[in-house]
């Protein structure tokens, strides 16, 4: 495939817009092009990228010494990733905002504002985001002068002063929901403005499970950083640790044995299947169809029990390590896995038509929570949310990383963008994942499952990109002295998908919110970091 054949076009556009590209490098961040620009050109570059038709992927900052930040933004175009970097002096931390061109940049920019004290001019909504009241205004946890253990504080004061969006008018009322919910789910606050039962506006308030992942990663060695990455979002533990390991291995320029790569893919696909099974049941349960919940929970439970017997952990946590995998399987276990595939396939062949043919379920799911292709493209959503709304993007196929480059990767695509489509994408992806695992397991390469880790030089950096079950996961790692991590930034797909929920709920009725939310199923933990 021809990689980066569009880059010259983009550079020409830069020239037209007087954006000065100081360096371009295809090697400093392997597999990704890195462009260095001046911070004065930061805003104009967003305009260029938008004209080009790039998708906004991620934004992170890094304090490289006492006086300077590096600000990185990542774009994707036709399966190629481009990182644009600008230096920024800590004395005057102001940058033009990318949000006017890319709505997806909204919350990530506010995250940087809270964590680094970088102000974004022309930002349409500069309220705090990740910061609740755990640390005071004017303190920036990801700056170097902030202690790793945090400042000692008394009880965290209540966070009652957050300026929520207001709606006024006859018959408009407000429903605050969460962060404590009646079910055992993660905490998040949702503020509805409704007229009767129709939702006028929904505002999300996240950040209740901020754990300081980025800060705690600093100073860890590679193995500990991989373990931490596996805890960014517990349901995506394989994908996140794979992305982190990929980033670290690229930084250290280590090649991973073919057997380890194949096993990583098996683990990632097993994680995908488990989560999709759980979600299908949960979506149906949210419209009162409990039968599906119990059937799919049973399938998921069987699936995870085999995870435990074969790989040693129900959720496959800590199986992916820097340099390879921490689990190996023999021929008997391969047979056991394959047997489970056919059992699952047989069960699904019975269950999925039951869901498809149930008119009362159809009535609830069809046409509910529609995310149009235009809105989806504007927001840059990924994963099943995108695939249900006509966004045909799958990293495993379009930015094929090993071992997927040698496999036949199928990806479902629907255009209706409703809850039913998001359910169908999940059901299809289970089938495709089973196919992929069969390909992987039938041709499992021999050899080592991991190679010894070698600490990279100081300032070695790498970017990992993995298609998790929610969609594209990006992970940036820069090493410091003695092979210790200096900067770790995992970007969960939820950053891109949470804003879609605020859009797709418009015009729906309040009691349909839970099923819409479940169909998007953003990770709170992965987003709050």
């Amino acid at each position: 495939m021809s990689r980066f054949d569009w880059l010259s076009e983009l550079l020409a556009r830069c020239e037209d817009e007087h954006v000065l590209v100081r360096h371009g490098s295809a090697t400093r961040l392997a597999l990704v092009h890195l462009l260095d620009i001046d911070h004065e050109d930061w805003g104009r570059f967003a305009e260029v990228a938008q004209q080009q038709g790039c998708r906004w992927v991620a934004l992170w900052a890094d304090q490289i010494d006492a006086d300077d930040f590096n600000i990185d933004v990542c774009f994707e175009y036709h399966g190629d990733y481009l990182v644009v970097r600008a230096p920024l002096a800590i004395r005057q931390p102001v940058l033009p905002s990318h949000t006017p061109w890319f709505p997806a940049a909204n919350r990530p920019e506010r995250h940087l504002q809270d964590m680094f004290g970088i102000a974004f001019s022309d930002h349409p909504d500069s309220r705090r985001w990740t910061r609740h009241q755990a640390w005071p205004e004017g303190q920036y946890p990801l700056r170097r002068d902030f202690p790793a253990g945090g400042e000692p504080t008394d009880d965290t004061p209540p966070d009652s002063a957050y300026p929520f969006f207001q709606a006024q008018g006859a018959g408009v009322y407000e429903i605050p929901v969460g962060p404590v919910h009646a079910g055992i789910i993660e905490p998040g606050h949702f503020r509805f403005q409704a007229v009767g039962e129709t939702v006028l506006n929904l505002e999300e308030r996240l950040g209740y499970v901020h754990k300081g992942i980025e800060k705690t990663a600093e100073g860890r060695d590679a193995a500990a950083a991989a373990r931490l990455a596996g805890r960014v979002s517990g349901d995506s533990t394989v994908a996140h640790s794979w992305a982190a390991c990929m980033a670290m291995e690229r930084a250290a320029r280590i090649g991973v044995p073919a057997r380890a790569l194949a096993l990583r893919a098996v683990l990632a696909e097993r994680e995908r299947v488990a989560n999709h099974l759980g979600d299908i049941g949960a979506i149906c349960n949210d419209v009162g169809f409990a039968f599906a919940l119990y059937q799919f929970s049973r399938l998921r439970e069987d699936w995870q029990r085999l995870n435990r017997t074969v790989f040693g952990h129900r959720l496959l946590m800590d199986r992916v390590i820097p340099g390879g995998v921490a689990a190996d399987i023999d021929a008997a276990q391969v047979d056991e896995l394959l047997r489970q595939h056919s059992t699952l396939q047989a069960e699904l062949d019975e269950l999925i038509p039951m869901l498809d043919d149930n008119p009362s379920l159809e009535d609830r799911l069809l046409g509910t929570g529609v995310l149009t292709t235009e809105t989806a493209a504007q927001l840059g959503v990924v994963g099943y949310v995108g695939k249900a709304s006509g966004i045909d993007y799958d990293l495993r196929r379009d930015h094929a990383y090993a071992p997927y480059h040698r496999l036949q990767v199928e990806s479902p695509l629907y255009h209706d963008g409703d809850v039913a489509s998001r359910l169908k994408v999940r059901a299809d992806e289970i089938g495709h994942a089973l196919n992929l695992m069969e390909q992987l397991l039938s041709g499992l390469p021999d050899g080592e499952t991991h190679i010894d880790w070698q600490a990279p030089a100081s300032n070695a950096e790498g970017l990992g990109l993995v298609e998790g079950w929610r969609g594209e996961i990006l992970c940036y790692v820069r090493f410091g002295e003695a092979g210790r991590v200096a900067r770790f930034f995992p970007r969960d797909p939820s950053w891109l998908n949470w804003p879609a929920l605020e859009q797709l709920i418009h015009g729906n009725i309040v009691p349909d919110f839970p099923v819409c939310n479940k169909s998007v199923n953003g990770s709170y933990s992965g987003h709050d970091l």
Partner: protein, 314 residues
């Protein structure tokens, strides 16, 4: 005197068996979903636990909020007294007719809706608003179904209605068939079962009945839960005893009573299975479909009434 004693015993049985009926429905549902069911005594344990627990009241709670559980329990208890359970011609049947029965339910609902709004939480008000929307349509449908019965039996007294139907023998009356269908739909809506409401949900935004009682705890919650179980059983008994009255005791002799108890028990078991099957194969309806559902109930009742006038009179 004996009659009063019998009526009292029947009422106590009625109230005591209500949680068991809910447990039975739940058990069948569990079986249909390939799950292991909780013990049939579980609702009783839950009630005992709730009665033992401390009552937590919101600072904003008014006397209405505190009185409501007792009003609901009282009104539902009175309603149960009016419905012939094992035998007809009890003295309690003379207290009130079926229109008053609907009135008892309306009274309980009125106070429940007030209590839902009383504390001022968003969910409570939301639940009250939904409940009133539903009841505004369910009540006329119920009354219409009841009027059909009344016209067939020339009485609004339930005991007399059953007597009349028994006396008429096994005649297939289209009017009664329509009234039955209508009453089943109304019963599902009024008792908050799937597809109208989901009693098992934890999703506040989708709740109707549960949203109004979210703020209740301890014995208050126990009374409301018990009343809800009782209401389900009342609708069950209404349906099986009016439309399938055979077996009900017309005299107070021990033999007839024993047979009648067995028969009504079996009828309720069957009804519970049907309810569970319905709840398993159906998803919950979108809230704005509920009016259509209830309009269907109203229409069925109206057709029942008309078919009585057209086909059966004269």
């Amino acid at each position: 005197m004996n009659d009063w004693l019998l009526a009292l015993i029947e009422l106590i049985l009625f109230v005591a068996l209500a949680p068991l009926f809910s447990a039975w429905v739940k058990r069948v549902k569990c079986w249909l979903q390939n799950r292991r069911a909780p013990a049939l005594l579980q609702p009783y344990r839950d009630l005992r636990r709730l009665f033992a627990k401390q009552v937590l009241l919101s600072h904003n709670a008014s006397p209405v909020f505190r009185a409501t559980p007792y009003i609901i329990a009282g009104a539902t208890l009175l309603a149960a007294a009016v419905v012939p359970f094992i035998s007809v011609n009890l003295p309690t049947a003379a207290i009130a007719d079926v229109i008053v029965l609907a009135g008892f339910f309306a009274l309980a609902r009125f106070f429940l809706a007030l209590a839902g709004m009383d504390v001022g939480t968003a969910f409570g008000g939301m639940g009250s608003s939904r409940e009133m929307t539903i009841s505004a349509l369910a009540e006329p449908a119920m009354l219409m179904a009841v009027f059909t019965l009344a016209m067939v039996a020339h009485s609004t007294n339930l005991s007399t209605v059953i007597d009349q139907l028994l006396a008429q023998g096994l005649v297939l009356r289209p009017s009664l068939l329509f009234a039955l269908l209508s009453l089943v739909l109304v019963g599902i809506a009024e008792t908050g079962r799937i597809p109208i409401d989901n009693p098992a949900t934890h999703l506040e935004l989708t709740m109707i009945h549960e949203a109004m009682i979210l703020e209740y705890s301890g014995r208050h919650l126990a009374l409301i839960e018990w009343a809800a179980q009782l209401k389900l059983l009342i609708y069950g008994v209404l349906i099986v005893n009016i439309f399938f009255p055979w077996g009900i005791a017309t005299s107070g002799s021990p033999g007839a009573l024993a047979i009648a108890s067995g028969v009504v028990f079996v009828k309720l078991l069957v009804l519970g299975v049907l309810l569970a099957v319905g709840e398993t194969v159906l998803a919950k309806m979108r809230l704005f479909r509920v009016p259509a559902f209830l309009v269907l109930a109203l229409t069925l009742a109206l057709i029942g009434l008309l078919s009585h006038i057209i086909l059966e009179v004269g």
